[in-house]
Symmetry: C2
Subunit: 246 residues, 2 copies
C-alpha cells in the first residue's frame, strides 16, 4: 500500500478549507452571515490559524466574505442558485430571492450574421430581433444578456413590458405554445473592461457564460442567447445520472 | 411600437461579434483553425473593421485566438466539451480528444471536517480518504480536483493506478455496483495565485468550478469533489426541458 502524504503547502490546505467554507456560505449555513472565529475554524478543520486566515483571504478575494477587525468575518453577498433541472427564466428561477428587473440596452430588427441565421433555421435574408438587456436582482446587476429572436415571436416584444418579464414567459404567450428543449453551453470567462463596467465588477472578474438555444415545444428554434452571469452572484445547480435517462 | 435603437458603443458591438466567433471557434468550424480576414469578418457581421479588430482582441485576451502580422488570426487552443447529459469521468467524456493523465499531489486518510462528514453521511469519528489530483489532457493541465471518498471505497485506491484511470471507473469496480446520481453546483471563480501556478494559467484566470457529490446506485453518497477546470480549455454542454421529465 503506497501512502502519498507529501508535506503539503499551506496554500493547498487553505484552498481545501476555502472550498468547504464556500459551500457553507453559498448555502446560507452561517447564522446572520457571521462566520466562526479563526480559532474555532482552525479546530473544525484541524489546521493552523494561518491556514484559516489564508482560506478567508481567498474567499475575500472572490468577494464572498468581508473581514473587519473587531467584527470578524461576515458573508458579503448572497450567491443565488439557478436551477439546471429545468428550463426557467431568471425571474422564474429566482422568485424566492427577490425581484428581477431588466434594462433594455438595445432592441432592433437586424439581418443576422450567417451563423445566427443557421442556428435559428432561417432562410437567407430573413431578419431577427436583436435584444440586449442588463438584468438586475433587487436592483443589483446579475447578468448581461444578448438575445436573437425569430422575427415572428420577437417583433411583438416591442410592445411588451420587458422591464418586468422574462422573455420565456412572453414568448410562450406570443407563440401560443410552451417552450420545449434548450441546448446550452457553459463556460467561465474573464470580464472584459466594458462588460465589467456594465455588471459593476472589477475588470477580469470571473463570469459564468451561458450560450443557450431554446426551441418551442413544436421543435422550432426561436431564441438564441449569450448570457454573462456575475460569478460572485450566481451558481448553477443540477444533478446527473450515471445511466442516461432515455 | 417603441423601437429602442440607441446608438451603440463599439465595445457593445465587439462583444456581440466576439460571442458569435467564440462559438464557431469552440465548435471547430474554422478550417485549419484559421479565421477569415478582418475585412471578410466585417462584411459577415455587417460591422466596421475596427469593431472586428476589437472583437478579436477580446478573444485573444481570453486565450482563444492568436494574432500574427502576415498570418492573421488563428485558433490558439482547443476547448473541450464536457457533457452535462450524463455522469461521466474526465477520461470517459474526453476519450475522443486525447489521453487524460493524473498527478496525485496528496492522498491520505483523514478525519474529515464536520461539513464533509455530514454530506457523506458519516458517523462522528469516521475517516475518509482525501485525494488531490492535477488532471492533464495530452500533457496539459486541465483541472485540479480535491476529492473526499468514503473510507470503504477510497482505501483500496492506494493500490490502484490513479495516474491512468478515472476515480469513477475504479469506484465501480471496488463497490461492485455502478454509480447512480450526482448533485452538482457550477460556479465561475478567479484563479488564486497558487491554483494559477498549478494549472499553468495567469493569476485571476476564470475557472469553471464544480462541486459534485456522487452516490452509488444504491443511494449511498461516496465521493465529494471540488473541481477547478481551466476556463480556457473546457466547456460544459447539455440540454434542459421546459417541462420536468419526471
Amino acid at each position: 500500500m503506497v501512502r502519498v502524504v507529501a508535506r503539503r503547502r499551506r496554500a493547498d490546505r487553505a484552498r481545501q478549507v476555502a472550498d468547504l467554507l464556500r459551500r457553507q456560505i453559498v448555502l446560507g449555513q452561517f447564522p446572520h452571515g457571521q462566520l466562526p472565529l479563526e480559532a474555532a475554524l482552525a479546530r473544525e478543520f484541524a489546521t493552523s490559524r494561518n491556514t484559516v486566515r489564508e482560506a478567508l483571504h481567498l474567499l475575500r478575494e472572490e468577494g464572498l466574505v468581508e473581514r473587519c477587525p473587531g467584527v470578524g468575518t461576515t458573508v458579503a453577498a448572497e450567491k443565488y442558485p439557478h436551477g439546471l433541472h429545468r428550463l426557467l427564466g431568471l425571474a422564474e428561477t429566482l422568485h424566492e430571492h427577490g425581484e428581477v428587473t431588466n434594462q433594455v440596452r438595445t432592441m432592433t430588427l437586424i439581418e443576422p450574421p450567417a451563423t445566427v441565421g443557421h442556428r435559428l433555421g432561417l432562410a437567407p435574408g430573413e431578419h431577427v430581433i436583436y435584444l440586449e438587456r442588463l438584468r438586475l436582482l433587487n436592483g443589483l446587476p446579475l447578468s448581461l444578456d444578448l438575445t436573437y429572436l425569430l422575427r415572428e415571436v420577437g417583433e411583438p416584444l416591442f410592445d411588451a413590458d420587458l422591464a418586468h418579464n422574462d422573455i420565456f414567459v412572453l414568448l410562450e404567450g406570443i407563440a401560443g405554445q410552451p417552450l420545449g428543449m434548450a441546448e446550452l453551453t457553459l463556460e467561465a470567462v474573464n470580464a472584459d473592461p466594458h462588460t465589467a463596467a456594465a455588471l459593476d465588477v472589477p475588470r477580469g472578474a470571473a463570469l459564468l457564460m451561458v450560450e443557450r438555444l431554446t426551441h418551442l415545444a413544436d421543435g422550432r428554434p426561436v431564441d438564441l442567447e449569450f448570457i454573462r452571469f456575475r460569478g460572485d452572484r450566481l451558481t448553477m445547480r443540477g444533478h446527473l445520472n450515471r445511466e442516461p435517462e432515455e
